[in-house]
Symmetry: C2
Subunit: 523 residues, 2 copies
Amino acid sequence: MQYKNLDSAEAFKRLCAISHVSVKQELTVDRLKAYAMDAGGGLTYHYATMPVNDAIIDELQKLADEQQLLEKYDAVLSGEMMNPGEKRLVLHHLTRGQILGDVIADGENLGEFYRTQLEHIRSFSEKVRSGAIKGSTGKTFTTVCQIGIGGSDLGPRALYLALQGYAAGKGIKQLEAKFISNVDPDDAAQVIASLDLERTLFVLVSKSGTTLETLTNRDLVLDAIKESGIPGIIPGKHMVAVTSNTSPLAKDEGMLDAFFIDDYIGGRYSSTSAVGGVMLSLAFGYDVFQELLDGAHQADTLAREKDIRKNAALMDAMIGVYLRNVLYHPITAILPYSQALIRFPAHLQQLDMESNGKHVNRNGEKVGYPTGPVIFGEPGTNGQHSFYQLLHQGTDIIPLQFIGFHENQRGKDITIQGSTSQQKLNANLAAQIVAFARGKDDENPNKQFEGNRCSSLLSGKQLTPKALGALLSHFENKVMFQGFVWNLNSFDQEGVQLGKVLAKNVLSGCKGDPVLKAVSDLL
Amino acid sequence: MQYKNLDSAEAFKRLCAISHVSVKQELTVDRLKAYAMDAGGGLTYHYATMPVNDAIIDELQKLADEQQLLEKYDAVLSGEMMNPGEKRLVLHHLTRGQILGDVIADGENLGEFYRTQLEHIRSFSEKVRSGAIKGSTGKTFTTVCQIGIGGSDLGPRALYLALQGYAAGKGIKQLEAKFISNVDPDDAAQVIASLDLERTLFVLVSKSGTTLETLTNRDLVLDAIKESGIPGIIPGKHMVAVTSNTSPLAKDEGMLDAFFIDDYIGGRYSSTSAVGGVMLSLAFGYDVFQELLDGAHQADTLAREKDIRKNAALMDAMIGVYLRNVLYHPITAILPYSQALIRFPAHLQQLDMESNGKHVNRNGEKVGYPTGPVIFGEPGTNGQHSFYQLLHQGTDIIPLQFIGFHENQRGKDITIQGSTSQQKLNANLAAQIVAFARGKDDENPNKQFEGNRCSSLLSGKQLTPKALGALLSHFENKVMFQGFVWNLNSFDQEGVQLGKVLAKNVLSGCKGDPVLKAVSDLL
């Protein structure tokens, strides 16, 4: 396998020489039909409003081939050490299905390991939901409260919020889920105040078992249970751990149960492991979680296609590289027209920015081109009434990634002025795509829209667990492919270490660093 | 008054010629003490980790003077027509106090008008909170549900979430507030399912009384009340309107009450009017809302200082211009180390991007320099476990705006490993400021931090209503000053109109536009 920087790739040099495309001029009905492809899980990826044409796509294919993206993905799937910074395998795909068969590492069959964990999640969650496992005072559990931060919070929380409406629409019995993440004590205090502690099962998530924020919040919770004065309540019997089997938490006999992950699942890629699976299976039942895994597996499989025109994650990734490295756009907005996806942009923000927000390549050499963009977003139509002004008429062009569904989740709607709310929602989405692309001339320059503001769309019939799994995997694989193009290690996060070290220094008196002391005295 | 573009200002040309500053090299204890100033409401603005020095600040002062920022602010306060695109006055400052005396417009004393509305808010909210005004089935109200979108949602929601912990810490009786905003029918369905309709008071907010999303959601709510089958319930008696006194809603006799704003209060600047005031006074009592107004008024008054070194909003604005137009940074991250400010970045996103995301000046001429940046953010320490990787080690520099407080709101905390959670939170904030500024050398390039990543800090003792009001006003005035520097009209939003027109076209069959039809068929 060859690892080389983007700017040393011959295809990249040719790509930079191709004339740019005007979306405004090129957008036709035929193009809309041609530039659409299956993205797995019932989703379709549309890129007719992206500034590419067949010549550019052909060159993006050659760039993908030259940078050996599919070979590198195969290396991930087959258990090669693809996180060289931390000397680890990268096995999150293995949590949803064994595309290339099992992976044996450290003398263990890890496919088997994850299947065993899944079976444990299934049986445990069924017992809790049926009432066979109860709280320590004999009451059934009605609420799950996840304690975790970063990847143990953002992805699972986004997925939970995305499926609440689906479960309600299908009449699936739900345990409500809540989340404590921030070390700010007001976060835990607010959530704890809203809980019926006798009926709450806490899911403590920390891979290392040493995450300071998470352990602190655990102790705040255990304290609150003790101080509740509820006769006979046993705090540990209201808590399970999700952790690596070598962590201190794994050996904590006081807890109700424990579920395991390993060092080969990075936090931001861990939603399909026990990190997301325990909470989601408790909240909606194991079958819903399994459907999500199936959708993710479907998109994972699709991402193995060598032909860029049959591989939506690859197409999305390579167009993103074109936007970043040829057109120099530093930002991408994620705009789901689905209230259920309210926190999905926050998950993608971590996934993308933590994976590819790096300026040295996998060998530690500084690269001479921009890498991962800044990601932000809010659901439409809310965003339309907020920051879309800048997207339409600001001085910079911000590429847009829309997401939309034909049907809503809950099945409750109303017809007003001849259309349902869902029709209004989607009319707005379609209108925005066209408005951004084509703009509008006006003799009043204040009402002039230049257009040529590019976007893509991921669409589906409904946001089901399967569609959600495919959506999650689509972006994970997109980010992975982009990391390969940029020759980065997308699976470590050294950029977060310095802050941790300095925070410890502050807590231990600033160790003779007068500037650190002076800054900490500001607060 | 003179209106001219930034690039025609002499001070700007001189500013571009001054040598840049290395935060990494310049950061000292003395500089930290010198580069700090009162921001009103008990807040302090610190800019020692911004890439400026006395020479640059002197030139920023001259640029502010040359662009007549303070004169233009006075023109706003005295009721001149400062929103020329829509031919409107800009009177949101008048909702918190009369700095320059009352404003008379359209034959009316508008200072008096807003005071009357405030008095109405006070008396109504007191009656609801005391139980003198009850629901139509005779039960007291325990929940407020705001129906609104954009400025009628983001600001009020951010302020409500910011004060919940404060009220809990002070033992103030609370009515819970909920919010329906998105036209996605799943949004309303989810909120409605969580309500005790007999005890819920809906606050319907639409200045024009014609906002499609909001009227649709109103009808979804009224339908749900009718279909609830609760004997004797009268839907209109569970709803008040906040609207302009010329809107169709103002004349709706079926509603419990109505509160008025006027066309001189832009949506994104309306949180301190009845748009935020009715809900906040119902939730926390009028006194809390009045304290918030006092804090905003204090910061408004401070913003009248001509000396940039005594005017924190002006300093923040001018440093922002320096970052955007001399150093060419297109993004700013808002990073509150306070869980209570979880949605404050979303409010600032609208405030800033909708106000200054424009590429024509107030005369409709295209400008040749970048204007408003993209704004995004999440609370720390959560962000540290997410996108900070890119902030530390990405290929672009993202300026950072930190916010932090000495004390938490709820007063519940725990000491673990020798420090409280609040101390850990603030140790992390201090550590990040230093880490971003100074970086760290390491022989492993993957662990190398280049530093020179600039930030500012707004700090205070506690997030009280007064501090929150000052914080809100600080950013409003910052954005206003920047709009003046860039010679924009920060108070209109023509960029959102085209999408509305096209959405109506979609709903009425696409009016023979085949591309629009084809895009709408994708969904």
